[in-house]
Structure formats: C-alpha cells, structure tokens
C-alpha cells in the first residue's frame, strides 16, 4: 500500500480495502524498519498517529470522515507542532516543544491527514545537502553515499523511500525543489504568500514559502488545495481565493506556450540532465505545446543577491534565540553578554553562524546600500525579467539542479560550491514565483527533475503540465529498490 498515491489510498479506504489504522501502522512499521539507515526523521509520533487513525476509522464508519482521513504524511521539523518537539534541525531548539501548531499543520490535521513525525533538515533550513543538521546527515534512498539534497532533505527522502505518502517542506532558495529532484519525487513551491507562514520557523521571511513533497503532481494538487489560502495571522499571506488545483490537472496542453530559459543551460549542467529535459520538451511539443526560448538576463546576479538578502533577514530572525525565553541556554553564564554569546555559539551550527555573520555585515553601518539595498534592487530586475518573459510564454522550463545528488561530504568543505547548487532555483524565490520539480530521468543511477516555473498564482498550470508529463512517463513511479 505504500506505493499508492494519495488518491489511490483514499479510494482504498473508501472501499474498505484497509482501515486508517492499517495504513498508518504499515507506514509506522516501515519507518521503524527502514529509517535507521536513512535518518529522515528527527521525531516520531507513531503513537499519536495510530490513536488518531482509530478515531478517524470510527468517523469513517459513521460517514463523517474528513476528506484526507488517514493519509500518512510527515512535517518538516521547521513547522511548529503543538506538544511535539520542533527543532528546526538545531541544537538551539533540541529542547523546544512548541506550544502551538503552524497553520499548515492545523489545516492538514483538520482534513484528517495524519502526521507520522517531524523530518530531518538542514539547521534552520540553511543548506542544500541536509548535512547541516544537528541530528546528522540524511541519506539518499537511491544511494546511501549520496545526499538527499536540502534543506527539506528528510521530507524528500522519506517520501522517496515510501515512509509516508507526502510531506511538507519549505523553500527559501530551492529547499523543496532541489531535494525533490535529487530524490526522484515531485516538489512544489507555491507563489510567495500562497501558503501561510504562521508557525513556520523563519529563515528568510521574504523568501520562505511552504510547499509539498509528493509522489505526483496530482498529490501535490490535493495537498495544496488544503494548505493554500489567506491566514489572518500572516500579514504576507495573499488575500485571494484558492482555486481547486485538481480541476486543472487534465486540461489539454494544446497551445500552451513553454519558454526554455537560456540562462539555465550553460556551463556546469550535467549532460544527462540536459538531455532528460530536452526529451520532456519534445514530449510536450508533440502534445501540442509551443516551445520557444526565453531569457532572464538578471538571473546571473541571483546567487549574489540571494546570499545577501537571505543571510540579512536570517541574522535578524535568529536574534530571538538568546537563551532567555526558550531554547538552548549555556551552562552558568557569567553575565548577560556571556549568556548571549555562549548560548548562541554553542546552540548554532557553523553554517548558521556564518550566515548570521554575513547578514549582520550586509546590514551594518556603511554597507547597507552597497549590499542589502543593492540586492533588493536586483531582485526587482529579476522579477521584471520574468514578467517580460511571461508576456510571451505561460510556463518556463529548465533544470532544477546542475547535477544529480552529490556524495555525502563531497561539498561540505566548500561552502561556495554548495551555494552554487541553488543556481537554478533561487530566481523564483527572489521573484516570489511558483515553481516545481518533477522527475524526468536518471544520471549515474540517481534521479533528477525538470523545473517548471509559473507566473504568479499559476500553480494550477504548473501542475497541469507536470500531470501531463506524469501521464506519459513513469519516472515519478520509480522507487529505490531497497524501499519498494
């Protein structure tokens, strides 16, 4: 049953092929057997999950089951979960039990989805390999020497290994799409503001966006229907109606205008990935889509802009971790400065501290205009380039990552080459556009995805094209042998 998609599971539950409890117990057992080698979970909530499954079985018997009753999911450990440890992958929050639920958690719970636990991640979502976790690296289910990508590495690996049907993630510079690509699954980052950030531990507030890691575009549509929407608790969430994303899945793509982003096919792109994407484009073309070239010239400045803006916002967002009201506090501080400085040094990992340093520098007196303000201006140039491109095309296509999953330890000593992992993904964060990664092939035995970027609020069209791809190919159905 773990190979089934969400809609297949819902059908099976409806037809009483198995109960919620059986479905949940099956996945709990898999986690129990398989996760030790992968390290995808930081916290398990098996007991609560089974209890909840029984309640939902009773409700189902009475015909009162909510729409996603019994679907086994997992939350990235960046989402606050009431009464359950919420660590953000950091020593700083190792002792933190959240007093409240994130809006995303609450909404998924309300429709009956059952969380099996909290997934591993790069500390405070800073990383592209999941090696920056206080709880240790996560292994890629396709090769245990490879990284799963990051920062939502635990969620991606758990879904790829069929430990849960779907998982939540967050994407600040590619943290959903990059691990989705590297783990051979579907990852969707919606438009900035489409999903509430309430209860989602902040990394870079103007870039962070919650999204989905699923087996298919259809499953992503089902989850996004639940997660999306205005939240009065999040001022930056969009006050707009949410369409039914499943409705548009089967629309014909005849006449759909697809742009191929020239900047995304340069040096450093793995040839297998390039040909995988070309194959997908041919498939779209034969289904009636119109392919043309587009260009986003300002995207060449995306990495510098991102590595100023994200650390700057993070440097302020992470000031609240001071050892006073919650979280890690150093042993017997001598005075206030010692309390702050030692708690923060001991509580944060190296990458987090380095980004706080960069961000503090970029905002400091005399440098603000040259760094932060400049980066925010570049951000607008990137947005303008995209808007111009979207006048000519409906969707933009490119690779998600330059290479398939690299080896654990391969880049952990080279910060800059790790940063370059995000080269194709961060432009859509800077512009706030929706984008997804969908499996389209394998290189050296490791999966990779194609990235589809849409115009603002055009998630439905991204999923429409991706669903088409998934109707015609089986890449998304492939699972790593050990976990089939």
């Amino acid at each position: 049953m773990h190979e089934q998609s969400i809609s297949q599971m819902l059908d099976a539950l409806d037809r009483k092929e198995y109960s919620c409890e059986e479905l949940i117990t099956h996945h709990v057992d898999r986690i129990h057997q398989l996760d030790e080698q992968l390290n995808t979970f930081i916290t398990h909530t098996a007991e609560q999950a089974v209890t909840r499954a029984r309640v939902l079985d009773t409700a189902r018997a009475k015909g009162e089951a909510p729409p996603l009753a019994g679907i086994p999911i997992a939350h990235k450990d960046i989402f606050c979960t009431e009464g359950v440890k919420t660590s953000a992958g950091s020593h700083m929050l190792d002792n933190f039990t959240s007093p409240y639920d994130a809006t995303v958690v609450e909404k998924l719970q309300a429709v009956g989805a059952i969380s099996l636990g909290k997934t591993n991640m790069d500390e405070f979502a800073m990383g592209s390999s999941n090696e920056n976790s206080y709880y240790g690296a996560v292994k890629n289910p396709w090769s245990e020497t490879a990284v799963p990508g990051g920062s939502s590495g635990g969620s991606a690996a758990a879904v790829a290994a069929r430990l849960c049907a779907a998982a939540t993630g967050t994407d600040t510079g590619g943290s959903i799409r990059q691990p989705a690509s590297m783990c051979g699954i579907t990852g969707l980052k919606p438009t900035y503001g489409r999903v509430s950030r309430w209860g989602m531990i902040a990394y870079a507030s103007s870039l962070d966006q919650a999204g989905t890691l699923t087996r298919s575009a259809e499953d992503a549509a089902i989850l996004l229907n639940v997660m999306a929407g205005y939240d009065p608790k999040d001022s930056t969430s969009l006050f707009m109606d949410v369409p039914d994303y499943t409705q548009a899945l089967n629309k014909p793509i005849d006449g759909l205008r697809i742009g191929v982003c020239q900047e995304y096919f340069g040096q450093g792109l793995d040839p297998d990935i390039e040909s995988g994407i070309q194959l997908a484009l041919k498939m779209f073309e034969s289904a009636g889509a119109v392919i043309s070239d587009v260009t986003i010239p300002a995207s060449q400045h995306a990495i510098p802009a991102y590595y100023v803006i994200a650390p700057a916002e993070a440097s302020a967002n992470l000031s609240r971790y001071d050892g006073v009201r919650f979280g890690y506090r150093c042993e017997s501080p001598a005075d206030l400065a010692d309390l702050y400085q030692r708690s923060r040094n001991e509580g944060f990992g190296t990458e987090v501290k380095q980004r706080i340093m960069v961000g503090s520098f970029a905002l400091s007196a005399g440098y603000y205009d040259a760094y932060y303000r400049k980066a925010q201006q570049i951000r607008r140039l990137i947005k303008d380039d995209f808007l111009a491109a979207f006048k000519k095309v409906d969707l933009i296509i490119g690779p998600t990552t330059p290479t398939p999953a690299f080896k654990i330890g391969e880049k952990s000593e080279d910060q800059i080459s790790m940063y370059l992992q995000d080269i194709y993904t961060i432009t859509s964060n800077l512009a706030g556009l929706p984008a997804g990664s969908f499996p389209v092939g394998f290189s050296q035995g490791l999966p990779f995805g194609v990235q589809i970027i849409g115009n603002y609020l055009d998630e439905a069209r991204i999923l429409n094209l991706a669903h088409r791809l998934q109707l015609e190919t089986d890449w998304h159905k492939m699972s790593p042998e050990e976990f089939s």
Binding site: R329, N345, Q354, I356, S360, F361, K374, K383, I416
Partner: protein, 95 residues
C-alpha cells in the same frame, strides 16, 4: 573589502556570537568568500530601481483592535530555561 579578525570580531559583537580563537580564521575565510561571491552585484546598474522587499508588492491588511489572547504564562514558560515568580531570569543587568 578586506575582512580581517577585527572586522569579524566587530560583527560578532553586533550578532552576539562568541567566536573561539580556534574558529576565528574559519570565520574570516567564510566571510571573505561570501563577500567575494556577492561582489559581482556591484557591476549591475540599479540606478532608479525601487528596492523590492516583498515579491508581490502587497499592502498590509490591518487587524481590528480586540483582545484575543488570554493568560498562558505557565504554559508558555514550560519551555523557558529559568523563571521565578512569573519572571524570566537572566544574569544581573546593570543599566
């Protein structure tokens, strides 16, 4: 921009991060690398471009002035490192 130990120490003070002597060089190197990476921005002509702090250039919706929160002190202080008489405790502060 030349990053040296003094620059790092100043920034660390702003960010209230302890930097142990054995880690100092690592921080100097990392800050130098990242600043070199982002230096390229300076070549971009951004004259007259309005900085973008929100991707959708949205405007704030205001909340009505009603009290929606009740006293949850004991519950919220369950996660606090040290409290007494309902107060959070920190080492003695001299103003």
């Amino acid at each position: 921009m030349i990053v040296d130990k003094k620059v790092v120490a100043n920034i660390a003070e702003l960010a209230q991060l302890e930097i142990l002597p054995e880690n100092m060089q690592e921080f100097v190197d990392s800050l130098t690398d990242v600043l070199n990476l982002v230096e390229e921005m300076q070549s971009v002509d951004t004259n007259g471009i309005e900085p973008m702090s929100n991707p959708l250039d949205g405007v704030q919706r205001l909340r009505s002035d009603t009290v929606t929160e009740s006293d949850q002190r004991d519950y919220l202080q369950e996660v606090a490192p040290e409290t007494a008489n309902g107060l959070y405790l920190v080492p003695k502060v001299i103003e």
